[in-house]
């Protein structure tokens, strides 16, 4: 049972990073369907940076650098994809859906190329990511294992989700960002630089999502590359809808998604095909939530009003 919960939490935090990143992006009015591509690129860039660093440093590598360098690379890889998305949709005013899907195919393909160039097994490095942040956690029994025994990514994901919630709701920057996503013309007339907010929010959001991709490989898969990061990306997108654009709700939502996704492995006697059916459950839940929220039609649970729409000031 504890193993199941731990596994659910570790996977859930990957979803949480992805969905928090996407929420930041969507609050600015950008519907980034390129999230799977972004997460793939984050994972690939992080892994490649790790590979390059380990090859370079050899046996003498420092554990701290082995953790920090891939994280920065994943952030950067994601942010560059966000920059690309923003350039197309803000500067060139391309359709966001089309651009997003293009980013997904592009990101998935490019990440596979990058990873072909590198080693695909990082178990040596991944232990630094999964090593409990709190050293004595293992001695505290099941409580320690369940609450304190995680590597850096779990706590990082929680912190980012909480900080995002705070910034969105309690600061001026958050107020402006929400206004940009709700009604860019209003924000513009109020003297807010809509393009800048969209660029920056998208880059930060995609950076965070990229981190999510890396956490999937380094934390959940213990450093074994698998070609299924994009599936995690689509689930993170669904999680954004599932938790109605609220990163703090996403903390709980990610646990639900994580649990549903890994449940099949912990139920004895599930066939291989049955496992795939189980992995479908998060989508089913999302559809149910969509039905329920549309039926209740509550205003605070709606997506940002201008989600997916480009803005150009002199449009008449």
């Amino acid at each position: 049972m504890i193993a199941f919960l731990v596994s659910a939490i570790r996977l859930g935090m990957t979803f949480l990073l992805g969905s928090t990143g996407e929420t930041i992006t969507e609050k600015a009015g950008h519907l980034n369907l390129g999230l799977p591509g972004v997460m793939c690129m984050g994972a690939a860039c992080g892994c490649y940076a790790e590979y390059a660093y380990l090859t370079d440093a050899g046996m003498e590598y420092s554990p701290l650098q082995a953790v920090v360098i891939p994280i920065l690379a994943a952030l950067l890889g994601g942010a560059v994809m966000g920059l690309l998305f923003s350039f197309f949709t803000v500067t060139l005013r391309a359709n966001q859906n089309v651009t997003g899907l293009a980013i997904t195919t592009f990101g998935v393909g490019l990440s596979e190329y990058i990873i072909e160039e590198a080693d695909v097994i990082f178990s040596k490095a991944s232990k630094h990511f999964t090593a409990p942040l709190i050293p004595f956690a293992e001695d505290l029994g099941s409580f320690g294992k369940l609450v304190l025994g995680y590597g850096i990514f779990v706590y990082l994901a929680l912190a980012i989700a909480l900080i995002t919630t705070y910034v969105l709701n309690k600061t001026r920057v958050g107020l402006h960002l929400r206004a940009v996503g709700e009604n860019p013309a209003t924000a513009d007339a109020a003297g807010i630089n809509v393009s800048r907010y969209r660029y920056i929010a998208t880059c930060i959001g995609c950076g965070v999502a990229g981190l999510g991709g890396l956490s999937f490989i380094m934390d959940y898969l213990n450093g074994m590359w698998e070609y299924c990061v994009d599936a995690i990306g689509w689930l993170s997108l669904a999680l954004v809808i599932f938790t109605v654009w609220k990163p703090n709700w996403a903390i709980l939502g990610s646990l639900v998604f994580g649990a549903l996704y890994v449940a099949s492995s912990y139920i004895p006697g599930v066939s291989f095909a049955g496992k795939e059916l189980f992995k479908m459950l998060p989508y089913v839940v999302t559809i149910l939530v969509l039905i329920v929220t549309s039926m209740r039609n509550r205003r605070e649970n709606q997506p940002p009003q201008s989600l997916g729409l480009s803005y150009f000031r002199e449009d008449r």
Partner: protein, 515 residues
């Protein structure tokens, strides 16, 4: 009178593609005055002010604030020069509260605390006599409340020059008076108020001076005290025009449409129409007045078979056979075949009546497509009709195969109304048919409606300008939150009486619901 000049525009020019919106416009505004900018639709009033507010950037010309030449490249720059604009289409975030909307974009010193914003908002409301709940969501507000938030927004930023773009278009007479009182208080406070409008009587009652624009150029500025309605119209139009609607007595009125106890609810289960009953007679124009969103649209749609009713009957009496039929259980095509025509002009005029990307001929066919039975289209008849309408109503278009989208609002409207009339209706319903039209085009539409009335058509006209309703209609029905609060005679009704009917029973009705 040596008041200092607060804002001056000199030779300001702006073009959109090949369309010249403003050409060499000059304008002067003093401190502590109310300046009205008057002009027909498309004369460039809003564009000029948008340049002052930083929404557009002028192609040429200079803008001076307090005698200093300034560059206003963005709304932020405009705020820095203490210029604030209240747009015709409100720029508010629906899911935010009044306070959050006010705080938007303000870079105050120190931390962002909503409580501080709230305090300052209350200060402003008390000073100028606004009534508003600072914690109410914009989505739950009435139009006049939204406008109040917009005004507080610019005052919060310390604006000294306020620009209001057609602020009274959506207000009842009572709300308008309240707004004018606030604006006068601002003038006493030594602020400059610029009000864009095309309602002459408002100009005369409120402003100190009037600047007139015509076709993007400034015609001149005169003292309001020296102006009359006819002198202002002359300046606006460039020629002397007679603006009179000929209202004939209804001839041989007969019951044509009897509406009884119509009820309907919206998705959230709130009543939209609440027991609406009235009778429309042939050969008369029945006006419908009411605050925007009181159920006018749904009422007309219900008669046209587009709006679902929970209760009520619509009895139609055929003029030839004298037979009566209930329209309630009929679909739009059956209703149309009986001769009931709806010419509907919602805010988005291309939304329901015409298809923007299709040309005039194709739009004519939208109405007649059921006549043909062959596989191929017969374009001759609709083409003749299109040519006819273009000629008779003087639609300004290169030819009949121009996509409707490219025509100006007034011409689109003429095409739509022309098509509906050509179908020889027995009931003609027109909702806001002159919205966004200039004075000339409006009067063309009024005359069209009058001619239909003389032909014995029962005309139902939903309007927003009470002055026009009182000049055009034989009877005026006032609708308020889905209820008919009164039907008055168009010839003898007083404006304040109608205004009262539009608003009065709100409290009473709430009491009724609670009790």
């Amino acid at each position: 009178m040596a008041k200092p000049v607060a804002l001056e525009c000199r030779g300001v020019t702006k073009t959109f593609g090949r369309v010249v919106a403003n050409k060499n416009c000059d304008l002067e505004v003093y401190r502590g005055e109310i300046l009205a900018i008057l002009g027909e639709n498309g004369s460039g009033k809003t564009t000029l002010m948008n340049m002052v507010a930083g929404i557009y950037y002028p192609d040429a010309g200079q803008i001076f604030v307090d005698g200093q030449e300034v560059t206003i490249a963005s709304p932020k720059d405009a705020f820095a020069y203490k210029i604030g604009m209240i747009h015709q289409h409100f720029k508010l975030v629906d899911v935010f509260t009044a306070c959050e909307n006010v705080a938007l974009g303000v870079e105050d010193e120190g931390r962002y605390r909503l409580a501080d914003v709230r305090k300052k908002v209350i200060e402003i409301t008390q000073r100028y006599g606004f009534v508003i709940d600072p914690d109410k969501r914009v989505a739950d507000m009435s139009v006049s409340e939204k406008q109040t938030v917009e005004i507080i927004k610019v005052l919060y930023r310390g604006a000294d020059i306020l620009i209001l773009d057609e602020p009274t278009a959506v207000l009842t007479p009572q709300e308008t008076e309240k707004l004018f009182a606030v604006l006068r208080r601002m003038r006493e406070d030594n602020k400059s108020v610029i009000i864009i409008t095309h309602k002459l009587h408002e100009v005369l009652s409120l402003s100190d001076r009037v600047a007139v624009l015509r076709k993007g150029e400034s015609v001149g500025t005169i003292e309001t005290a020296d102006a009359t309605e006819s002198s202002l119209t002359e300046m606006m139009m460039g020629v002397k025009v007679e603006l009179n609607i000929e209202r004939s007595e209804p001839k041989d009125p007969q019951e044509r449409l009897k509406v009884e106890n119509l009820c309907s609810v919206n998705e959230e289960g709130r009543a939209i129409l609440d027991g609406v009953s009235f009778t429309a007679y042939s050969g008369e124009i029945l006006g419908i007045a009411g605050i925007a969103g009181s159920g006018q649209r749904e009422l007309l749609e219900a008669i046209a078979g587009l709006h679902h009713l929970t209760e009520g009957d619509i009895i139609y009496q055929d003029p030839k056979t004298g037979k009566t039929e209930d329209l309630r259980d009929k679909n739009p095509i059956q209703i149309r075949d009986l001769g009931v025509r709806l010419s509907f002009v919602p805010e988005d005029r291309l939304g329901m009546g015409l298809v923007g990307n299709m040309d005039i001929v194709d739009n004519m066919m939208l109405r007649s497509y059921q006549k043909g039975h062959g596989f191929f289209l017969h374009r001759r008849e609709p083409r003749d009709l299109a040519v006819n309408i273009v000629e008779q109503l003087q639609v300004a278009t290169p030819n009949v195969s121009t996509p409707v989208r490219q025509l100006s609002g007034g011409n689109v409207q003429k095409v739509l109304v022309g098509r509906e009339i050509a179908a020889a209706p027995t009931v003609l319903m027109a909702a806001y048919p002159v919205r966004g039209l200039d004075v000339n085009a409006s009067y063309t539409i009024y005359n069209l409606l009058n001619r239909q009335k003389e032909k014995g058509v029962a005309v139902i006209f939903v309007g927003e300008d009470l002055d026009v309703l009182m000049e055009l209609c034989d009877r005026i029905m006032v609708i308020n939150s889905g209820r008919v609060t009164g039907i008055v005679d168009g010839r003898t009704a007083r404006k304040d009486e109608i205004g009262l009917l539009m608003t009065k029973s709100k409290e009473e009705m709430q009491d009724g619901e609670n009790g």
